[in-house]
């Protein structure tokens, strides 16, 4: 088991390298870079005095080097103007837009992003499981139709619209401040109980908004999976033993229906980050999403590159976790080699 985990982690390294290379190609695809664009703009305006400073910056960040060299310097496998100083050495790069190191720009938003995503995943699972099981076991009942109807509405409503409506209602009824993940007075203040409560209160709306579509989709899938399993012979066998319906359902078909969901954890993470960008912009959430959007628009390449890479790492970890969980839960995967033919 330990050996397996180790092997998986080691095989992640080349994957990460390939991903980082692809990421770098993508963020460098548009012509020019942030600084050369700035220089062009300054020259057009007739101001040449700052150009020298920008030229200095270009050399400072090795933007004048050839492509491959730039990539290797970014990763930290090639000596740049300051020696080996890249991602591997813990230097996440410089954000031109914010004129701060990337770490400082993203730093505050990362925990928020993770908190929000966790809350959303939890919301999706907690809501969709009971409803999915209910829908499957009482197929074609009024309840099933009702949830199906609500689910389709959830799938079809644009998230940001739902977000705006809910924010308005939350403000009217509960007096929550609009936007953000906490009341404005707490921004920049150290963590306290009040701040925590404020964050929790503000989490509700975004969680529901981001999670609705995922929940609706998850309900449909769980219902379909479970319906498949419910008619299997082994369920009849269990029933023939005289088991109670509820216990039987949880022990046999639900266990089988779980597999696709565990396998899905790896895919869920990036889609939650990238899928919630627009909602985050609309709701003014301090998450990575809007920062990424901004960075891509202004060609703030080190910032954008780091965020993309970060999401990729999250995906890889998610995949690893789901593979391990599958092995724990499904003996066919764990012991496949032992099977007698």
């Amino acid at each position: 088991m330990l050996y397996y985990i180790l092997r998986r982690v080691v095989t992640m390294i080349p994957t990460l390298l390939v991903i980082s290379f692809l990421t770098f190609i993508i963020i460098e695809l548009p012509a020019g870079d942030y600084i050369s664009n700035q220089i062009a703009a300054l020259k057009a305006a007739g101001e040449s005095s700052s150009v020298a400073k920008l030229e200095f910056l270009r050399a400072e960040f090795a933007l004048d080097r050839p492509f491959l060299e730039r990539y290797l310097i970014w990763v930290g496998l090639w000596p740049g103007p300051h020696g080996f100083d890249g991602l591997l050495q813990g230097n996440w790069g410089w954000s031109f837009e914010y004129e701060k190191p990337v770490a400082d720009v993203i730093g505050p938003t990362l925990p928020m992003t993770i908190i929000l995503n966790m809350a959303t995943i939890l919301f999706v699972y907690v809501v969709s499981f009971p409803i999915g099981i209910y829908s499957a076991t009482r197929q074609y009942s009024w309840g099933d139709y009702g949830f199906t109807f609500v689910g389709y509405i959830g799938l079809a409503t644009p998230n940001f619209l739902l977000g705006l409506i809910m924010l308005y209602l939350a403000n009217r009824w509960f007096g929550l401040s609009i936007g953000g993940l906490m009341d404005p007075e707490y921004i920049g203040r150290p963590m306290s109980v009040d701040k925590m409560l404020s964050i929790l209160a503000h989490l509700i709306v975004p969680t529901i908004v981001i999670g609705t579509a995922g929940t609706a989709a998850m309900i449909r899938r769980l219902r379909a999976n479970l319906l498949d399993e419910l008619h299997r012979q082994y369920v009849t066998t269990a029933r023939a033993k005289g088991m109670r319906e509820a216990r039987l359902l949880v022990k046999y078909p639900l266990r089988m229906a779980l597999n696709p969901f565990i396998a899905d954890i790896g895919n869920l993470i990036p889609s939650l980050v990238s899928g919630s960008v627009i909602v985050s912009v609309v709701l003014n959430l301090p998450t990575v999403g809007p920062v990424l959007l901004n960075a891509l628009q202004s060609q703030d390449q080190f910032l954008a590159g780091f965020i993309l890479l970060f999401v990729a790492i999250l995906t890889l970890i998610g995949m690893l976790v789901s593979d391990l969980l599958l092995a724990v839960l499904d003996p066919r995967i764990r012991l496949g080699g032992r099977a007698a033919s």
């Binding site: 012979q233 009849t236 029933r239 005289g242 089988m256 003996p331």
Partner: protein, 629 residues
């Protein structure tokens, strides 16, 4: 004293199209410590009766009349199961405790995610009020009772690690753990090999006498009935046709349906030329392009297909997550076979013996690792492996396959017309008008109405679908047909119909068959010569009569011994089954013993009758191998 009395039971299925009566006023009883066989074709309502007794009827089924009196010998008064709430407490207390069931398909009736011990012990925990540790203990005893090789280890193994026979044993252990008064066995051996079938039947008998319980055996196999049942109930379309003691029914069947069923069962040692009488016979009519079959320069009786030293190794990469590596499986080991033009060569063996692999190799559906397969189109033998382009296309026209499962081998989204037209389109045969005519001829040939052409496969019964499969195989007017267990998924009455159809087609169209089957009686009925395979080797080959009547190889003998015959005077010799399993080549007595690396040499023991006996070949100067080929 009767454990179960079914009194005037009627079950309706309520669908949106109305009510359909599945079981109509059925009455019979199961006496204490006796076995009652419920015999009928699929769709006769026998499974619905078992579901009614178990309280497992589907939602849309409804008991409309009658009583199901269950009289538990362990004390208490008779209960009317029909009146109980199917999901209620009382029904649950009986189900799995006093009445237990084993199902047909041991592969799917156990949960793949839970250990055997967990699944078996669960019933004990539910009904006998024991804790987990005690349940484990009981389970181990039960597994020992059903003769698991290593009960303690089996507790922690998962169903997918066990063979079909062992899984069925686990199912029986699960049903037995609460010592039920009544066991319902719903086709318990239909999905198993004949040798394993015999073992399971013996096991059910042993357990029955040990725990003194009654058995309701549901089956369509008269061989099983003759060996197991004290009383027989014959059911047809939800109604009882005949019932009585097994001895009386076999000696003197009264009802026309029972007589017809008995006539449709192939028996080993039928008179040459004796025909099975199917309940619904069909007459093939060859006409048009099919009349006379394909002309081939190869004379009748001359070799058409010749396999020489064919071997095939499968590399299984089922290494689990943790370690394990590639695993080599020798599927075919030095196979020498000849199919003569105009004959039917039967290929017999247990599952995993390499029968289907051989058929696939001839079809060139898989590549072989060693040896050659030659096919004679009339212009001399040609190497099948070397065919390509137009030559391969021509070969595909000549050699066709009939599949085992008529349900999954027809595309449910294509009409019968599309299915039969497809080969003609692929091989660019004829104009559209000619093709349409051909398709209609094919339908008439297999006894189907050409008006059915626009229907989809789901509207046909199993036997009709298999006939569509045969028609598809015949569409290109082939000369050689590989039949891969074409009747093993069908009822006996339908099986007789299909076998007769294949026989008639062979003589009318001058076809050559390679007939793969695990049913020796079927092969005995249809094949001219038979080859017995075990573990990827041909162990015996010869004229069918000679092999069946005087089997020389221990494996063939064991195989023949385990075939249950529909005859009360020829019961299975259960005692002989206790001997060492005969499918282990290294345990065969000399001169038949095969160890790894020994070449399976065929020795001609009698004229035209070869046996794999590497030990004997050493003493003889030169095995007359050429004669086989």
């Amino acid at each position: 004293m009767d454990v179960l009395t079914v009194d005037g039971l009627s079950v309706d299925f309520v669908t949106s199209e109305g009510r359909a009566r599945a079981v109509d006023n059925v009455s019979f009883s199961v006496p204490e410590n006796r076995t009652v066989a419920l015999v009928g074709e699929s769709g006769s309502g026998k499974t619905v009766i078992s579901q009614a007794i178990m309280g497992l009827l589907p939602e849309k089924a409804e008991i409309t009349g009658g009583r199901l009196l269950f009289n538990d010998m362990a004390g208490g008064t008779a209960v009317d199961i029909a009146a109980l709430n199917r999901k209620g407490e009382e029904m649950r207390a009986i189900r799995g405790n006093r009445i237990a069931i084993i199902f047909q398909e041991p592969m799917t009736s156990l949960s793949p995610l839970h250990t055997i011990g967990d699944q078996i012990g669960e019933a004990a925990e539910l009904h006998r009020g024991v804790n987990a540790a005690e349940a484990r203990e009981l389970t181990r005893d039960m597994l020992r009772l059903v003769r698991f090789p290593d009960p303690a280890r089996a507790l922690n193994s998962y169903p997918f690690e066990l063979s079909g026979g062992l899984r069925q044993r686990a199912m029986i252990a699960m049903a037995m753990i609460c010592h039920p008064a009544l066991l319902i066995a719903d086709e318990p051996t239909t999905a198993l090999d004949v040798t394993i079938q015999a073992e399971i039947l013996k096991l059910i008998k042993d357990v029955q006498s040990e725990l003194s319980m009654s058995v309701l055996l549901i089956t369509h196999d008269f061989g099983v009935v003759a060996n197991m049942a004290d009383e027989v109930v014959v059911i047809y379309h939800g109604r009882i046709m005949e019932k009585g003691a097994a001895s009386a029914l076999f000696a003197n069947p009264q009802h026309a349906y029972l007589k017809a069923l008995l006539n449709a069962v192939p028996r080993i040692g039928m008179e040459p030329g004796e025909r099975l009488v199917p309940i619904r016979p069909i007459e093939p009519h060859a006409e048009g392009f099919l009349a006379g079959g394909r002309s081939n320069g190869v004379a009748k009786g001359a070799p058409l297909v010749r396999l020489e030293h064919v071997s095939k190794t499968f590399l299984t990469r089922k290494s689990g997550l943790f370690g394990g590596g590639a695993h080599e499986l020798l599927a075919l080991d030095d196979i020498n076979l000849t199919v003569r033009r105009g004959e039917c060569l039967g290929l017999v063996g247990e599952s995993g013996s390499g029968k289907t692999t051989t058929a696939k190799a001839i079809l060139r559906a898989i590549d072989i690792d060693g040896g050659t397969i030659h096919y004679d189109t009339g212009a001399g033998p040609m190497d099948v492996a070397g065919l390509s382009g137009p030559a391969l296309l021509d070969y595909r026209k000549r050699v066709q396959l009939i599949f085992q499962d008529p349900f999954s081998s027809l595309n449910p989204r294509m009409t019968v017309n599309d299915i039969l037209l497809e080969p003609l389109i692929i091989h660019e045969v004829g104009t559209p008008a000619e093709r349409a005519e051909r398709v209609r001829e094919l339908m008439r040939l297999v006894g189907l109405d050409p008006r059915f052409l626009r229907r989809y496969p789901h509207s046909f019964s199993g036997g009709q679908r298999q006939r569509i499969g045969i028609a598809r195989a015949l569409a290109l007017n082939p000369e050689f047909i590989l039949c891969d267990e074409p009747t093993s998924a069908l009822d006996v009455s339908v099986q007789a119909q299909i076998l007769n159809l294949l026989k008639d087609l062979k003589s009318e169209l001058g076809l050559t068959y390679l007939f793969v089957s695990h049913n020796l009686a079927v092969v005995d009925y249809i094949a001219d010569r038979v080859a017995v395979m075990c573990r990827g080797r041909v162990v015996e080959i010869g004229e069918t009569r000679s092999v069946v009547e005087e089997p020389l190889h221990p494996y063939t003998r064991a195989l023949l011994r385990s075939v249950p015959e529909p005859d009360l005077d020829a019961p299975l010799d259960f005692a002989a089954l206790d001997e060492q399993r005969a499918s282990e080549p290294s345990l065969w007595p000399e001169p038949f013993r095969l160890t790894d690396g020994t070449a399976p040499v065929l020795v001609e023991m009698k004229p035209g009758h070869f046996v794999c006996a590497p030990g004997a070949s050493a003493t003889r100067p030169e095995p007359a191998r050429e004669a086989i080929l």
